[in-house]
Symmetry: C2
Subunit: 761 residues, 2 copies
C-alpha cells in the first residue's frame, strides 16, 4: 500500500520524482481511447526502471506456450497483448548530455492526469551534470474523438544557458514484450520513410501478420512562433524512422515541439492503404493543431462524463477513486468495435495476455450497460457470438461433441490462450457467465430480440456443454459435476461446486425460455437455427429437464448453507482474522497444497452465485451463507470485494459494505496489492462501480423497472450517479437527508425506490 | 509395439539396420556398471537420428526450472541426469568420405548385447559412395570389475581396396543435454591434454562444479600385430582432445583399435588428483589389455548371475525378457555407494531427470534385497537417511514445522526437483513408501538394528509430517487428509485417498514399534535421538495414537470396498473394455480433466495398498477390491501391472497374473509404449522380477521365514529363481510336476512351501 498520490476530485497528481514509484505511476497515469493506449512513459530517454508500453486494440501475438509439463489439450500458443511501436519518443541532448531523469537532477517534478479531459501533463526542472538547467512541460492525450491520433505538446526552456539542443523525434517499432516467453521480438519491418518533419514505419507481427503503421509529424515553436531548426537530419534504422533536429535554445525562451502521431492497424485499413491513410490522418492532425484536437477530445470526455460520472461529497479520496475507475473503464472500451473487448489490464500493461476473461460478462457488462448507449453492451455480447464456432472447437478438443461449446478462459481471437489444466480445462463456470450476460443484458435493456438474432445459438451450445459435462451418479441417484474449479481458484478439481452446478441448471432453464421466445418471435429464424445447429429439440430438452430435476447441490441443510463443493465441511474451518499477518497474502506465502486444503477463499464463490441469483433465495439464506463464507474470504482477487459489498449492502451490513468498497476503490491509486506497476486492475474497476451503484445504491432491475434501495456510508455527505436506462438518463442522489431521483432525459417512467413506486417525469 | 529383436535366451539381437529403430536400440543395448553407463551409440560418426548419451553416476546439473505458472514452493532448479563427456568416439574417413551409416550402404548389420557377459558387439559391412567397402566389428563394455574403465575393440577391414584411413580417436566434453531447458550447455572445460596415444579432458559442470575427467589411451593392431600409424596429429579444441591417425588399410587385413577409457569424477577423487589418477587408471587398463579386462569384467557378471538369474523353460521370449530386466537392474545399481540410487531410466536415457523416485522403495528394494548382499539394500535406505535434513527443509518450505519431513518426489541430492503442484506438493504417499522400505528391509533381512542406527530418525520425521498433514473434521468427527494425489496419478487433489490415509496411520504405528525397539536396544542412542530430534515422546505419541484411533478411511461397506478417495462412487463406473481403441492411451488422447473425472486408473492405488499390507486384510476383501478396481485400470504406468500380477496370483487368477506379467516383461524389448527411444523403464523392471518371484512364486517373508505358494503359468515348462536370504542362497524351481527347493549355500533353515514347513539343508 502506497500513499504518494495527492487527493483531488478530478485529478491524479504526483509531486516529486521517486524512481521507485515510476512504474506504478506509468500504469496509473496511462491514457487511452479504446483504439489504443499508452503507459505514462517519458517522452525523453529514461535509463531507470520503466515498463515501456504502447498498445493497439486487437493486435496480438500468439507466443509459443511455455509449460513445465505438457497436458493433452493445452493450446500451443498464448495470445499476448503486444507492446506496439513507440510514438511518443522525443529525445533531447544538450552538449552531448542526454536529458534522462535517471541521470539529471530533477526538481519540481509533477505528473498530473486530468480525468475530466483525459490529459496527461508532466513538468519538471532538470539539471545536467554540467549544471545546465532546463524546464520541461509536456502534455499528451490519445484522442477520444479520433481513435487513431495521439498528440503531444512538449515544451523545453533553457533556464540558465543558451546552447544548441539535439532533438530526436521519431517512431520506433523495435520494441519488445517484457513477457515474451523466449525473449523474441514480435515485430518485423515492412516499410519506413523519413522526410523533413515526418516519419512513418509499418511493422508487422510475426505469425499473425497484423500490420501497424505508426507515423508522426511535428511542428516547432519558440516563444509562440514557428521556429526554424538550424539543421534537420533524417534518421532511419531497422524498424525506426525520425528526424534529428538541431535547435538553438535561448535562455528563458520556451521551445515547443508539437508531435502528432497516427497509429493505424490492418484491423481497420487495407494493408496496401495503410501508409497513405496514415499520411492523411497525420495531415489532418497537423493541420488542426494541438489545441483544436484537444478541444475535440475533451468534448468527447465531457459528453462521456455526463453519462457516467459519480459524485461523492465529503470524501475526496473516495471521489478521486471512483472517478479513476470510471475513467479507466471508459478509455479502455468504447464499444464501437464488436471485435474488441476489455483486457484485465486495459491498455495499462501487458500482464495476463489475452484480452477477454469472464470478467467482461461477470463484472464489466453492468457498467457499460448503465453508462453508455445500448450498442456498447450489445457489442460485448456479439463478440462472444462471433467466437461461437471457436468455442465449439475448443469443446471438441476436450472431448465434447454435437455442437457443445466451451468458451475459453482467456482469449484474443476465440481460441484458448491459457494453459493450467485446473483453470483451462476445469474453470468451466465461465460458460455460465457468458449465458448469464445474455439474460442480464436483456433484463436491463429489454432487447429480447437479441435472443433471436444471436443469443439462442450461444445458449444452445452452452447448454449442450453442461448436459454432457454432468454425469449420473448411481451412488447419489443424482446428476453430479466432477472435477471443476469454481470462481474461488483456491480450490482446484473439486466435485459439485455449488456455483457451477447452479449455473448449469440455470442455463438449461434459460435456454428453454429462449427457445420458446424465438419460436414465437420469428418462426423462420427459429427453424433456421434448429437446422443450423442440428438441434433435436425433443430429445435434448428432455435431457435438460431431467438434469434440472435431478441435479445434486451440496448443502448443509441443518445450517442452511450451500456448500462450496463436496467435502467443504471436512476442512478446518477458520476465520481470516485467525491468520497471522506474515501469512498474507496467502498466494505469496503458502504453498499451493496448503492453500487448497485450507478453508480460505480467494474470491466470492457461493456468494457470487447468490449475487447473480439473488431473487431465487430468501434473505435468510443470503444472510446465513454470507455470515458463513465472508469471514473465510481473503479477497486475494480484486474481483471479490465488490460482490461482498453488494450482498453486505443488501443485508444491511453497512460497515462491511463500506469496508469492501474501500478495498477496491483505490486499489491501483494506492497500489494496495503491490502490483500496479504491471498495469491497472481494469476489469475489477467495474466491480467498484457495482459496489456503489448496486451496493450502496441498491440498484436492481425487476420486471423491466429500475429499483433502488439506497443507503449512504456514514463517512460521506452525499453521492450521486447517473444511469442510462431504456432511452432515459436517470440521476440518483443519495444524502443523509434522503434520496433524490431525477429523469434527466427521455420519456417518463416508473421506478421503485425502496418499496415505493415513484414516477419520474 | 515392435518386434524387431530376435529372441534368444541370453542375447539381445538386432539384425539388419533400420534407422527408425536406432534410438530404441540405443536404449535397449545400453551398457553400464553402476558407476557409469553408455547408450548403444555408434563409435563412428552418425548423422542420422540418435540420442547420444554417456552418464556418470551422481553427476547432475540443476537446470533452471521451466514452468508455465509459478507456484509458491516450487524448486528453482530441476536436477538433471547429465549427458557426460563422450568416451566412445572413433571417427573414420577414407578418401574424405566419412564412415557414417546414415550415408554409407550398410549390409550384414548385427548388434548383439550378450547379457551373460555384459558385452555389446556390433558388426556390419559398409560401402562408401565411391564403392569402397569395409567391414567393422566393434565390441565394448563398461567394466563391472573396475567401475571407472570402459573398453572398446574396434576392428575395421578394407574389403575391396587398400587406402589410407584417417582415424580420430578422442574424448569430447562438448556435449549437450537433449532436455536442456534453455538449450544451454552444462559443461565447461577445466583441463585438457593430448599426446601420442593419449588424451584427457577435465570438464566441470556449471553451478554444481562437479569435475569429470575423461581420458583415453589406444593401441592399434593390424592382423594381430602392433601397427605403426603413418602419422599421428594431436587434436585439441574447446573441451575436446584426441589423436588423428593416418593408417594404411590393406585389403583383407583386419585393423583393430583398442580404445581404453577412464572416467573419473570428483565424487570419488580430489579435484586436484583427477588427472593424475585418470592417467593411472588408463595405464592400468592399457597394460592389462582388452582381453584381460574383459575376463575380469565377465567374471563379475558370472558371479552376479549366479545370485540373481531366473530361468524359464519353454518360453524363450519370456526367458530373454526376464534376463534383460535383471541385467539392466544389475548394471544400473550395484549398491556399493550409498550416495547413489536408481534413476527411472538407469543409464539408458536422460528423461525424467533426477535419480530417485518412490520407485526405489516401492519397487526396486525387494529385487536388490533378494539378489545381492545385504549392504546393497541397506545402502538404498541409508541414501534417504542422508537426505533427512533436506526432507525436513522441504517440509518447512511447505509450512510444516518441528522436524516434519516430506521427502521429495524426485531428487538427486535430497532437494525436490519436480514442479507440478499436484505431484510435488500433493503426491505425499512417497513418504509412506520410504517408511515402509525400512520395515520391508528389516522383515526380509532381520537387521532390526537398522532402526537404532538410522531408521528411527527417519520414521519420527515422517510420522511428524503425517500428524501435521491430517486435520480434524468436526463434520466427520474423524481425522481426514485433504488435497492429495495418490499413486493413481489420474486423480489429483483428492480428499482421503485410502492408500495415503492407510500409510499415514501405518507409519504412526510402526514408528511406535521402532521407538520401543530402540529404547530397549540401545538406551543411550535412544536418548541421543530424542534429544537431537527434540522429540516429546509423550505428547507426540499421544497425538499419533489419537490419529490412529480416529482416522477416516473411505469405504463402501455394503460392497466391502475400500474407496480410492472420497466421492469415487460418484463417477461413471466403467470397464476399460468399454473404451474405444482410439481412446488409448488415455494420456495421449484425452484432456486432463476428462481423465480426472473418469473412473479409469493409471496404476494400482487401493490395490497397491492391499499389496503392501496384504496380511491385514482377508482374502475376501482382497478379492472384492481386486474385482472392482482391476477392470478400471488402464496400466498407463509401467509400475502398475506387477502389483496386479502379484495380487492376481494370490487370488488364484492365474490367467490374469500371466497377462499382467507379460505387459511388463518385454516392455522395452518390444517397445510396448513407443517410448523406449528415450531410455528403458529401469525401475519397473524390478516390478517384473516381483511379478515372477512374489507373484508366480508366491514368495513372502513371515515371522522371519521365507514362504512360497508357487504356481506355473500354463505356457511354461518350468521356471526357477534364486534368493539371497539371511546368509543363505535358496533356489526354487517350479515345474508342472511340483516345486523343488534347494539350499545352495548357508546354514540349514526352515521355509514354508504352501502350507507345509520344509527344512532346507
Amino acid at each position: 500500500m502506497k500513499n504518494y498520490l495527492k487527493h483531488h476530485e478530478w485529478r491524479i497528481i504526483e509531486e516529486g520524482f521517486d524512481p521507485h514509484y515510476n512504474k506504478i505511476s506509468e500504469s496509473v497515469f496511462s491514457i487511452g481511447n479504446g483504439r489504443m493506449g499508452q503507459r505514462a512513459n517519458f517522452e525523453e530517454e529514461y535509463s531507470g526502471e520503466t515498463l515501456r508500453g504502447s498498445y493497439v486494440a486487437g493486435v496480438y501475438y500468439p507466443d509459443k506456450t511455455r509449460v513445465g509439463w505438457w497436458k493433452n489439450g493445452y493450446p500451443e500458443y498464448f495470445a499476448k497483448v503486444l507492446n506496439a511501436p513507440n510514438w511518443i519518443g522525443i529525445h533531447i541532448s544538450i552538449d552531448n548530455q542526454k536529458l534522462d531523469l535517471a541521470k539529471c537532477k530533477t526538481e519540481d517534478f509533477r505528473r498530473v492526469l486530468d480525468m475530466k479531459t483525459g490529459l496527461l501533463s508532466r513538468s519538471f526542472a532538470a539539471t545536467f551534470p554540467d549544471g545546465k538547467k532546463v524546464r520541461v512541460d509536456s502534455r499528451r492525450f490519445c484522442s477520444m474523438a479520433h481513435g487513431e491520433i495521439g498528440a503531444i505538446r512538449y515544451a523545453i526552456t533553457a533556464l540558465n544557458f543558451s546552447a544548441k539542443a539535439v532533438i530526436s523525434v521519431y517512431v520506433d517499432a523495435d520494441v519488445v514484450n517484457k513477457d515474451s516467453n523466449y525473449d523474441e521480438k514480435f515485430w518485423e519491418e515492412v516499410y519506413k520513410e523519413a522526410s523533413e518533419g515526418k516519419a512513418i514505419v509499418t511493422a508487422q507481427t510475426k505469425k499473425t501478420l497484423f500490420h501497424v503503421t505508426t507515423g508522426m509529424r511535428y511542428a516547432i515553436e519558440t516563444d509562440g512562433k514557428k521556429a526554424q531548426p538550424e539543421r534537420i537530419n533524417l534518421e532511419q534504422r531497422e524498424k525506426f524512422a525520425g528526424n534529428v533536429i538541431q535547435l538553438n535554445l535561448e535562455e528563458g525562451k520556451e521551445n515547443v515541439i508539437y508531435k502528432y502521431a497516427a497509429i493505424l492497424s490492418s484491423e481497420n485499413h487495407a494493408k496496401a492503404s495503410l501508409v497513405a491513410n496514415c499520411s492523411k490522418v497525420l495531415d489532418e492532425a497537423y493541420n488542426k493543431g494541438f489545441e483544436k484536437l484537444f478541444e475535440e477530445h475533451s468534448n468527447v470526455w465531457a459528453h462521456k462524463w455526463e453519462a457516467c460520472d459519480i459524485t461523492i461529497e465529503g470524501d475526496i479520496a473516495a471521489q478521486q477513486g471512483i472517478r479513476f475507475n470510471i475513467f479507466q473503464l471508459t478509455q479502455t472500451y468504447t464499444g464501437e468495435d464488436e471485435r474488441l473487448n476489455i483486457g484485465p489490464k486495459g491498455f495499462t500493461g501487458e500482464k495476463y495476455g489475452g484480452s477477454t476473461y469472464w470478467d467482461t460478462e461477470a463484472y464489466c457488462l453492468p457498467f457499460y450497460m448503465a453508462t453508455a448507449e445500448q450498442k456498447v453492451a450489445r457489442n460485448l455480447l456479439v463478440y462472444r457470438y462471433k467466437h461461437l464456432q471457436k468455442a465449439i472447437e475448443n469443446g471438441q478438443k476436450l472431448g465434447f461433441t454435437g455442437g457443445a461449446a466451451l468458451y475459453p478462459m482467456v482469449t484474443m481471437n476465440g481460441e484458448e490462450c491459457h494453459n493450467e489444466w485446473e483453470i483451462t480445462f476445469e474453470e468451466i463456470h465461465r460458460n455460465g457467465a457468458i449465458a448469464y450476460a445474455i439474460f442480464d443484458y436483456i433484463r436491463y435493456t429489454g432487447d429480447e430480440k437479441y435472443l433471436t438474432e444471436y443469443g439462442l445459438e450461444v445458449l444452445i451450445a452452452i447448454s449442450r456443454f453442461w448436459a454432457q459435462r454432468v454425469n449420473w451418479s448411481s451412488h447419489k441417484n443424482k446428476y453430479v459435476m466432477l472435477g471443476v474449479t469454481g470462481p474461488n481458484e483456491y480450490e482446484n478439481n473439486v466435485n459439485n461446486n455449488w456455483y457451477t452446478n447452479t449455473f448449469a441448471t440455470w442455463t438449461l432453464e434459460y435456454t428453454q425460455h429462449a427457445l420458446s421466445f424465438v419460436k414465437k418471435d420469428d418462426e423462420s429464424r427459429f427453424s433456421e437455427i434448429l437446422k443450423r445447429t442440428s438441434f433435436d429439440e425433443k430429445t435434448e430438452v428432455a435431457k435438460w429437464k431431467d438434469i434440472i430435476e435431478k441435479m445434486y447441490y451440496p448443502e448443509d441443510t441443518t445450517r442452511g448453507l450451500f456448500l462450496q463443493q463436496d467435502g467443504f465441511l471436512d476442512k478446518e474451518l477458520m476465520s481470516v482474522s485467525e491468520l497471522k499477518k506474515e501469512d498474507r497474502p496467502l498466494n505469496q506465502k503458502w504453498s499451493w497444497d496448503r492453500i487448497l486444503r485450507s478453508c480460505f477463499i480467494k474470491q466470492a464463490d457461493v456468494l457470487q452465485g447468490l449475487y447473480f441469483f439473488e431473487d431465487k433465495y430468501s434473505p435468510e439464506t443470503l444472510r446465513k451463507n454470507f455470515d458463513f463464507y465472508e469471514p473465510m474470504t481473503v479477497h486475494e482477487s480484486s474481483l471479490s470485494p465488490c460482490v461482498h459489498a453488494i450482498l453486505a449492502s443488501r443485508l444491511g451490513y453497512k460497515q462491511k459494505a463500506y469496508e469492501m468498497y474501500l478495498r477496491t476503490a483505490r486499489l491501483d491509486l494506492d497500489d494496495y496489492n503491490n502490483d500496479t506497476e504491471d498495469g491497472c486492475h481494469t476489469t475489477s474497476m467495474a466491480g467498484t462501480w457495482m459496489s456503489l451503484v448496486k451496493g450502496f445504491g441498491g440498484m436492481r432491475v425487476k420486471d423491466g423497472k429500475l429499483c433502488f434501495s439506497p443507503f449512504i456510508p456514514e463517512q460521506w455527505k452525499s453521492y450521486s450517479f447517473r444511469l442510462e436506462f431504456r432511452g432515459r438518463v436517470v440521476k440518483i442522489k443519495v444524502s443523509k437527508d434522503g434520496t433524490e431521483t431525477r429523469l434527466e432525459s427521455g420519456d417518463p417512467m416508473e421506478i421503485w425506490l425502496k418499496d415505493e413506486k415513484v414516477m419520474l417525469k
